[in-house]
């Protein structure tokens, strides 16, 4: 469904970012955002596994909290 759950960049190597969200880590390409992303940023990952946007930290944390609550509510 392409939900926009912001992930935190925990490392960058060879044009790839390792990002974390809800305890899950994954790799995403920085091809579209090279030079615009640093460790600690919150990002959105687009189709194909590309980092497509840096999200304001406060907005990211609020969105993560709302998503976590909604996912838990749906699962219960």
């Amino acid at each position: 469904m392409c939900l926009a759950i912001p992930s935190e960049v925990i490392s960058i190597e060879n044009g790839m970012a390792t990002v974390e969200c809800f305890g899950i880590t994954r790799q995403a390409s920085l091809l579209l955002m090279e030079g615009e992303v640093t460790v600690g940023d919150y990002v959105l990952i687009q189709a194909g596994g590309f980092v497509a946007e840096v999200v304001d930290r406060q907005v990211a944390l609020e969105t993560q909290a709302a998503m976590a609550e909604a996912l838990a509510q749906q699962a219960s």
């Binding site: 469904m1 392409c2 899950i24 880590t25 994954r26 189709a47 194909g48 590309f50 969105t63 709302a66």
Partner: protein, 394 residues
């Protein structure tokens, strides 16, 4: 990746027998928790949250939500508001298709992506929004504040046309081609990433790959969709939608472009497979430019209509880059009581839908080859789907 992506994935089990994919079994992904996110919120506030909740097709998602709320309240926005939503949705389609044709597609075929064109298109599309409505002011049921700047918009459109013509179409308007030979000649010159991609896909081993017997989505009775999403068994409908006569349909660029002469000719020559689905994206970019040009003169400065504090239910629809998208809402005293979505993914990845039909019978020597085919088919149909693939032997 470790763990399961929080966005949800589709699990596909491919059954291999005698060097072919004999069967494809799909497990639907969980429905997104939009009900939990939006319930109890004022309709206007809920709609304004949507662009933050979706990472892809967020304009189309917003347009569908606005339509749904307006229908529920019995409100008709001024024509300029619909024109603005159309321009934004078409621009988003250009951006998404351009990304597929310059990045994901080439990478899937081992070709060099054209990152600069992808980035240039994204930058250009992002510059459109403030030329029509500052600070997302357009996102309001009934219509928001529009302040179009005609001169800048004309320049913006000319800039986009130039970017598409040079970066994607290698100085030829592909949508004007009539015969497949013209397309092949253009692709063979390989002067843009989409040309190189199509040249690879037009080869016999790929051109018809992924074609199936699934019908293409044309007119769909909104009353049936509304009844499906508004009914007591709506979750089953939203996870595996069919028409009222029980048909599975493909939605997306190929369905929308299925009457274009090049697509019809390609269908006759090779079947509506990988090449046709890729070509449809390129054709749709050209068509979107025309659509934007026609809609821009309809934009006038102004605001929308006021909203009643009413209730009721409504169905909203938008043509997102990846296919037709439906939002259904039930309001009570202006607040969200129920909110449901039907995404294009669920049509295309229906257990008997286009993904499955296109893979069944495909030649695959081993599990690795079968997985690679499934990923190509998934990318051609819906690039934003997370696929978990398992291969077993009959």
């Amino acid at each position: 990746m470790s763990g399961v992506a929080p966005e949800g994935v589709i699990h596909a089990r491919l059954v291999l027998a005698r060097g072919r994919i004999a069967d494809v079994l799909l497990c639907p992904r969980p429905l997104p928790p939009v009900q939990a996110l939006l319930q109890g919120r004022q309709a206007e506030q809920a709609v304004q949250m949507l662009p933050r909740l979706f990472s892809l097709c967020r304009v189309a998602q917003t347009a569908a939500a606005l339509n749904a709320v307006e229908q529920a309240l019995g409100v008709v926005p001024p024509p300029a508001q619909n024109a603005a939503r159309l321009v934004f949705t078409l621009a988003e389609t250009v951006q998404e298709h351009a990304t597929r044709l310059t990045l994901d597609g080439p990478l899937a075929f081992g070709q060099t992506p054209d990152v600069e064109t992808a980035k240039a298109v994204r930058r250009h599309i992002a510059a459109l929004f403030p030329l029509i409505s500052e600070n997302n002011g357009w996102i309001r049921p009934g219509g928001g504040f529009l302040s179009p700047r005609p001169k800048e918009l004309a320049d913006w459109l000319e800039g986009l046309r130039s970017l598409i013509l040079s970066g994607l179409m290698a100085k030829r308007d592909v949508s004007g081609f009539f015969e497949i030979k013209e397309l092949r000649d253009w692709a063979q010159e390989q002067e843009s990433a989409p040309a190189r991609l199509l040249w690879a896909m037009l080869k016999p081993e790929w051109a018809g790959f992924g074609a199936g017997a699934t019908g293409q989505m044309g007119h769909l009775d909104p009353k049936y969709v509304k009844a499906g999403l508004g009914g007591s068994d709506w979750e089953s409908y939203a996870q595996a939608p069919q028409t009222s006569s029980g048909l599975c349909l493909e939605t997306g660029p190929l369905a929308r472009q299925s009457e274009h002469r090049l697509i019809r000719n390609l269908g006759t020559e090779t079947g509506l497979g990988l090449a046709a689905r890729t070509l449809a994206r390129l054709l749709e970019i050209a068509q979107a430019l025309t659509g934007i040009a026609l809609a821009l003169p309809l934009l006038v400065e102004g605001v929308g209509v006021s909203l009643p504090e009413g209730g009721g239910d409504g169905l909203g629809m938008a043509e997102a880059a990846r296919g037709r998208l439906f939002h259904w809402v039930r309001l009570d005293a202006g607040r969200i009581e129920e909110y449901r979505l039907l995404a294009p993914t669920e049509w295309n990845f229906h257990p008997q839908g286009a993904f499955v039909q296109g893979l069944k019978g495909a030649t695959a020597a081993d599990a690795e080859a079968a997985s690679a085919l499934a990923r190509k088919q998934g990318l051609a149909l819906d690039p934003c789907v997370g696929l978990e693939i398992e291969v077993s032997h009959a």
